[in-house]
């Protein structure tokens, strides 16, 4: 197994962990973390695919950079929504979730 | 423009021009851009940190090696305590009143945090809070000596408002 495969599989593992975090947590800020893990896992998988030949393929690199910036903007928006929710309701979990738990 | 500001601007221009030269590594196009970037940076720096008490450069050149030696001693000291099975520690706090200006007090705190056995936790008014690893080692004297050295780095010009 090559080092590149190790990193690609790490990316695959990160996506799985992120999906787990997104589904299993009721605390919304932890879902933002899960979402970011899925994103960066995808980037790593994609980036490792682009690094199979040297030099590293610049097209995936450029797309990943834009991806990182957009994921950050989405996270900032999500965090603002969560704090607005917490200010309005005193909770940072969705209503139906807190009823179930 | 006062003489103090002039002098500080010259010092800072040299420093920032050097940083720009290092980054752009002698590229001629980069040097043209540097003619814009360096003055802009100096302006930002003077706006943020107006020059009050000019540094005495020759004292700084004497101080730097002593600081480096001190920080090596600090690292060795902490490594010795960390690796020693008995872990000799006798931690505690000191409150050290200061006559230094704001910037010098913060610099002193930063340096003390890298020197053997002392760690600053900011100040309360003009009293510096220092955590010490070993109260038995007479840390107070080391702190005072360091404070005197920092005080000597700037001209004793009257502190601005």
């Amino acid at each position: 197994m090559s080092g590149l495969s190790v990193l690609a599989l790490t990316g695959a593992g990160l996506i799985g962990l992120g999906i787990y975090g997104l589904l299993a947590h009721a605390q919304l800020l932890r879902r933002v973390i899960g979402f970011n893990l899925v994103g960066s896992g995808l980037f790593l998988f994609f980036g490792a695919a682009g690094a199979r030949e040297m030099p590293v393929d610049p097209i995936p690199q450029a797309l990943i950079i834009t991806g990182i910036v957009v994921a950050f903007a989405a996270s900032a928006l999500a965090v603002a929504l969560i704090t607005a929710l917490a200010r309005a309701t005193g909770r940072a979990t969705l209503p139906e979730e807190s009823e179930r738990s | 423009m006062s003489r103090v500001t002039m002098k500080a601007m010259i010092h800072r221009t040299v420093v920032f021009a050097l940083i720009w030269a290092v980054l752009s590594a002698g590229d001629p196009a980069g040097q043209v851009l540097g003619l814009i970037v360096v003055p802009a940076t100096v302006w930002l720096s003077v706006a943020l940190l107006p020059a009050r008490n000019p540094l005495k450069l020759w004292r700084l050149t004497g101080h730097t090696p002593r600081f480096l030696v001190g920080s090596v001693a600090g690292g060795v000291d902490v490594a010795r305590r960390a690796f020693a099975p008995s872990m000799p520690l006798n931690p505690g706090w000191l409150r050290v009143p200061m006559q230094l200006g704001d910037g010098a007090r913060v610099a002193l705190g930063a340096e003390l945090s890298l020197m053997p056995g002392t760690l600053a936790a900011g100040s309360d008014g003009s009293v510096l809070l220092v955590h010490v690893l070993d109260l038995d080692a007479e840390p107070g004297r080391a702190v005072e000596a360091q404070a005197a050295e920092i005080a000597a780095l700037t001209d004793p010009a009257p502190e601005g408002p």
Partner: protein, 103 residues
């Protein structure tokens, strides 16, 4: 040389793993945060060695991390202040021995 630098990087990563343990157990928030700070410094060290090993372009990344090494810690002290926007130095030192000299 390549061999040795690989070893050193592995050693640094081991040291980093030890700091991760401190992030996990805490107990104070400051403990977790300073362990993260240690991981940042170690990361800069790793990048410097990668620069020697692979390509000096890695120094550009190390420089960015060094420049912003204090960012997260500043965010932490802000969040930990009473109104979430302040500075711990604005208040008296707090419920501790620092007020009356020695422990």
């Amino acid at each position: 040389m390549t061999f040795w630098l690989h070893l050193i990087i592995l050693g640094l990563l081991g040291s980093l793993a030890g700091a991760l343990w401190r992030v996990w157990v805490g107990p104070a928030q400051a403990d977790r945060m300073m362990a993260a700070q240690l991981i940042g410094t170690t990361g800069i060290g790793v990048l410097v060695l990668l620069a020697v090993l692979q390509d000096w372009a890695a120094l550009t990344v190390a420089l960015a991390l060094a420049l912003l090494a204090a960012m997260a810690a500043i965010g932490f002290v802000k969040a930990a202040s009473s109104d979430g926007a302040g500075d711990p130095e604005e208040c008296a030192p707090g419920p501790t021995d620092a007020r009356d000299g020695q422990r």
